[in-house]
């Protein structure tokens, strides 16, 4: 195993709905991501995976627990303040909704160059425009789109622009929250290939959040499964799909639609019954690098 880039320790986040009600979006979540790894987080809506991404990006303050990024405790205000430039440039976020993520009144060239300008980074290729053009080519877009506005682009192109903007900062950690969920099949394949290609080239670490298991299976090295703010299983991707241990993981895998009529119709999805498998306990290593939430267990993923 390589060096840790990100380590999350006993992270919890609680939303306050009103005076009487709070919701635990993250409940005692621990894991770590190695340098250069593509780490997937899967779960259904409301499981806390987006909250996790936001905590990692310092967009939300965790209620409890710590997050270490390159050894910096980013849940500590003082340390964040001291390392602000590094933290802001080396972590980048890509949203699902590339429509709302891009300012519709800015040209593509300006959108891509904006983070560089904000952080006063001298463009290595002479001008900001040249830099934007380079990044555009990099993500497979023609330079003729530089002067377009986001509404003139298709969904796949907008997602590419969002990726180009994130990559212009040469991040070491890229957090992507459902980046392909709103895209069509053929465009989704293009973007997934792009991610793979760019990751191999730059070697950035990738926190990839998704609900589509087949996408995660294709792209990720390791996968974490979440439900109701709890991390229930973490394993290398092949092992998770071949040997799921937690009942919820099993239910999720059995419900994953398979594009093969004969096979698909022969399957009956198992239903996860929270009463039968309580979401308590701690992660236990069942085989090398494979952790499952077990009652009474104790270990660190």
């Amino acid at each position: 195993m390589g060096e840790n880039l990100l380590e999350v320790r006993r992270l919890s986040h609680t939303y306050t709905v009103n005076r009487h009600m709070t919701v635990k979006a993250l409940d005692d979540v621990s894991f770590s991501i190695n340098k250069g790894e593509i780490f997937g987080v899967v779960g259904e809506s409301g499981c806390g995976k987006s909250t996790l991404a936001r905590c990692v990006m310092n967009l939300l303050r965790p209620t409890a627990g710590e997050i270490f990024y390159q050894g910096i405790n980013i849940s500590d205000k003082k340390q964040v303040r001291a390392n602000r430039p590094l933290l802001q440039t080396s972590r980048q976020l890509i949203f699902q909704d590339s429509v709302s993520g891009l300012n519709p009144r800015m040209r593509v060239a300006d959108i891509i160059a904006e983070p560089m300008q904000l952080h006063r980074i001298r463009p290595p290729r002479g001008s900001y425009r040249a830099e934007a053009e380079f990044q555009m080519r990099h993500v497979g877009l023609d330079a003729s789109y530089l002067d377009k506005y986001p509404p003139e682009l298709s969904g796949g192109m907008r997602q590419r622009v969002a990726i180009a903007r994130a990559l212009s900062m040469e991040p070491s950690l890229l957090v992507a929250d459902e980046p392909v969920a709103s895209l069509d099949v053929s465009i989704q394949a293009q973007i997934l290939n792009l991610f793979r290609h760019l990751q191999a080239e730059h070697g950035f670490t990738f926190l990839f959040i998704a609900h589509d298991l087949s996408v995660v299976k294709y792209l990720c090295d390791r996968v974490a499964v979440m439900i109701s703010g709890k991390l229930v299983e973490v394993a290398p991707v092949a092992e998770l799909f071949s040997d799921p241990r937690h009942p919820y993981t099993k239910a999720l895998l059995s419900a994953m639609p398979i594009p093969d009529p004969r096979l698909e119709r022969s399957r009956t999805p198992t239903v996860f019954d929270p009463a039968a498998a309580p979401l308590t306990g701690a992660l236990t290593e069942v085989s090398p690098a494979h952790f499952v939430l077990t009652e009474g267990g104790a270990a660190d993923a």
Partner: protein, 331 residues
């Protein structure tokens, strides 16, 4: 239950605090304005006063005390229900206002009701006939009419109906000697009323139209249509119903808007209402009158806003439920 009491208490506190702040501000600002308060008390006689007599008169009205002292003197009286006398009318302020408020309530109240009834009708009609000729016509006419300043519209109407045609009276609340004639009063009300309604109607009609269109384009309308519910039923049973919270809160918020409009209209038509009174009191440094009128208007405005908030929270099942269960889709 406890939370309801809490909310009520909180609202009352907000209400009292806002009024207190308002009263201080008006008290201070009114005294900054140039002009001679004695002029309104003594009329043209003020010019003939000897400096000594003038000083004595000012002393009697308490104008020599520091502003803070004046304010607390006023406040002590006000809390006991004594708002002082009007410099101009030399009668207790409350009495003067009481004699006039009926006129304003008639003009403002009927104007308000008419504005909103018509706005709802027009709004729903236009939304139901979106992009037809009539819809476009109404929207265009509305845009143009809504842009005309009220005082100018008033003058034009007076010119046409009173001066050229002689059909309707253009000033006052009743003809001399006909104070008890309801028909005469109604005739005097018509032109000011028309201005109040025409000045505000379009904006609200347009708001309702857009809100209705938002509902009409919702998915549930498509579903209802697809199972064969008649359009009219969908429009009235669902869309209109769902617009009601917005409608009611717009209504509550717009009260000050319409009050403001009424004041201008009253002044142009020399209609003896509270609006003319507040204009005069500001013009002639009638401090006591100005205080009461401003506070009265302020109280109505704040009250309406609080009502709007409460109505909104009560009428929507999502708002009602938010107090008891979790609805937020927490991701």
């Amino acid at each position: 239950m406890r939370s309801r009491v809490f909310t009520l208490g909180k609202n009352l506190l907000i209400f009292a605090l806002s009024l207190a702040i308002l009263s201080v501000a008006v008290f201070y600002v009114a005294r900054l304005a140039p002009g001679d308060p004695l002029a309104s008390y003594y009329g043209s006689r003020v010019e003939k006063l000897t400096p000594e007599a003038r000083f004595a008169a000012e002393e009697r009205l308490g104008l020599h005390d520091p502003i803070i002292v004046q304010y607390f003197k006023w406040l002590r009286g006000a809390l006991r229900g004594d708002f002082g006398i009007s410099f101009q009318y030399k009668r207790p302020v409350v009495e003067v206002i009481g004699g006039r408020i009926g006129n304003t309530l008639a003009l403002g109240g009927i104007g308000f009701a008419l504005t909103f009834a018509l706005a709802l009708l027009l709004g729903v009609f236009c939304a139901g006939h979106e992009d037809t000729f009539l819809d476009k016509l109404i929207c265009k006419v509305g845009t143009v009419t809504g842009c005309i300043p009220e005082f100018w519209l008033s003058l034009v109407l007076i010119l046409i109906f009173d001066i050229y045609l002689g059909l309707l009276p253009g000033s006052g609340a009743y003809s001399v000697g006909k104070a008890d004639d309801l028909g005469d009063r109604a005739a005097h009300l018509l032109l000011p009323l028309a201005v109040v309604v025409l000045g505000h109607l379009w904006y609200y009609a347009y708001m309702i139209r857009n809100r209705m269109l938002e509902e009409i384009r919702a998915d549930y309308v498509l579903l209802a249509k697809s199972v064969g519910l008649p359009d009219r039923k969908i429009l009235f049973r669902h869309c209109l119903r769902n617009c009601m919270p917005t409608y009611l809160s717009i209504m509550a918020i717009s009260v000050p808007h319409i009050i403001g409009g009424t004041y201008i209209v009253e002044t142009v038509f020399s209609y003896p209402g509270v609006g003319t009174l507040s204009y005069e009191s500001a013009r002639y440094q009638d401090y006591n009158m100005l205080m009461v009128l401003t506070l009265l208007t302020g109280a109505v405005v704040i009250l309406c806003n609080l009502v709007a908030q409460t109505v909104n929270a009560r009428i929507d099942p999502r708002g009602r439920a938010a107090e008891t269960e979790v609805t937020a889709d927490v991701r």
